[in-house]
């Protein structure tokens, strides 16, 4: 299990990266390496050229703006985990990061790497789906932004063009004191979830839900927003039986099935994880709201 031969490039600017992507044969971008390196060691991928992004300037940042936060593509999961700004403005991400891999992988893994790898069960794509994040890509024609909902185009396939680079993520914050919860079911701590659910809720003074976002990960080919459930949640209070009833809709998700988890099992878990996420998010919203 040793990587195949390749040429190695470590450009210092985004422009150089894009230029290399354009000119090199069969290139592969190396971010944190927590997914690519195992695939290289197992020779599941055989690139002729590795473009290492770790020395590219200006891709690691967590910045606040008027509407939320901007995160650089090469920002480490560890930096996100320990960021007070994330805790304050996007607590769902903090919740999710506690469940991403292990200490050693978060020390190397990046948000851009996780989004580009786009494992349907990964936590950060689900967070982006929940928050209607905007993905920033740079290519030869400059920068473009696409909503996360258009980002996955197929199973583990992002909309990034072959000569483009994911440089950042823009997340719009919810109202201070909103409810949030990231719940997942994994066989062991730190594993990719079999199924996860991310919930965001805003409530009014009377405890009625005024805004809702519910995302299920690990069931479909990419994280799925449960729009119908979200609509039905508006005006509801935190009645668990009502949540249970609404979450039954998760059985309709077009689900992956394999020897590790059948599609029925994933759908079943989706109903349970969604309900638990809503219950927890509601409790948090009420406590603060």
């Amino acid at each position: 299990m040793k990587p195949p031969p390749f040429s190695y490039h470590d450009p210092g600017t985004v422009g150089e990266v894009i230029n290399l992507l354009k000119t090199l044969e069969n290139p592969k971008l190396l971010a944190g390496g927590q997914s690519l390196m195992p695939m290289l060691n197992m020779r599941y991928v055989m690139p002729d050229n590795i473009i290492d992004l770790n020395k590219v300037d200006g891709l690691s940042y967590i910045e606040e703006n008027n509407t939320g936060i901007n995160i650089g593509g090469m920002t480490l999961q560890r930096d996100l985990e320990f960021s007070d700004l994330i805790k304050k403005k996007c607590p769902l991400m903090n919740d999710a990061l506690q469940q991403v891999g292990h200490r050693q992988t978060r020390n190397r893994g990046t948000i851009g790497g996780s989004l580009s790898h786009l494992d349907p069960a990964a936590e950060l794509p689900a967070v982006c789906a929940a928050h209607d994040a905007v993905i920033v890509l740079q290519g030869p024609k400059g920068e473009r932004e696409i909503p996360f909902s258009d980002f996955p185009i197929a199973y583990m396939t992002p909309a990034t063009e072959i000569d483009e680079l994911l440089t950042g993520v823009k997340i719009t914050s919810w109202k201070d004191g909103h409810g949030y919860a990231f719940i997942e079911f994994a066989r062991r701590h730190g594993d990719f979830a079999i199924t996860s659910a991310a919930a965001l809720l805003e409530v009014d003074g009377a405890g009625a839900i005024t805004r809702a976002s519910l995302t299920v990960g690990g069931v479909g080919a990419a994280p799925v927003r449960m729009n119908e459930i979200e609509e039905s949640l508006i005006g509801q209070s935190g009645d668990e039986d009502k949540f249970r009833e609404l979450c039954e809709a998760c059985r309709e998700i077009d689900a992956l099935g394999d020897v590790y988890a059948s599609s029925e099992y994933r759908q079943h878990l989706a109903t349970v994880m969604s309900r638990r996420a809503l219950v927890k998010a509601y409790a948090r919203a009420n406590r603060k709201g």
Partner: protein, 163 residues
């Protein structure tokens, strides 16, 4: 031999300048080029944690990094943990006293992971310790001795600091 590069780095306080094949992962570089065979390879796909080392004080899996990426970095491996030839680090002592190892193969990764963790969290609960080493597999101990050793080491380190 494929494409190579010259890199310079510091390992356990010692500076090295070496020519390395760009496809070598960091663990192979440490083991084969520098002869630091204390860092072990158990899976080479980033699950077992045996190859964990510290890079600039942070735990990383050395099988999931290319050696060229360690250029200019400061690394610590298991060989660099003890303060001297005659003395062991309190974490190493605690592992010995609590039977935190049997075959000893996962031990390097356990020690490096816990060194960083105890730095971040000097007074952890048992559950926090278990989560901290969730990315390190051990097949001998059932983890009980390791968890006990980590808690014991945390106490020793706090005592030493007079906390």
């Amino acid at each position: 031999m494929g494409e190579t590069r010259k890199i310079s780095l510091t390992v356990n306080g010692k500076s090295y300048e070496e020519e390395v094949e760009v496809r070598f992962h960091l663990a192979d570089f440490l083991r084969q080029k520098l002869g630091l065979t204390g860092t072990h390879l158990g899976c080479e796909h980033g699950v077992c944690g045996a190859c964990t080392i510290l890079m600039n004080g942070k735990s990383v899996r050395s099988c999931l990094m290319l050696a060229v990426q360690a250029d200019g970095q400061e690394l610590t491996t298991i060989e660099g943990i003890a303060p001297s030839e005659d003395e062991m680090h309190p974490l190493q002592e605690a592992f010995r006293d609590n039977h935190g190892l049997q075959c000893g193969f996962c031990t390097p990764g356990m020690l490096t992971t816990l060194l960083e963790f105890l730095e971040d969290n000097p007074d952890p609960s048992e559950e926090e310790v278990r989560i901290a080493i969730s990315g390190n597999l051990c097949r001998c101990t059932g983890y009980q001795g390791i968890v006990a050793a980590a808690l014991d080491a945390a106490q020793r380190l706090r005592d030493a600091k007079g906390v």
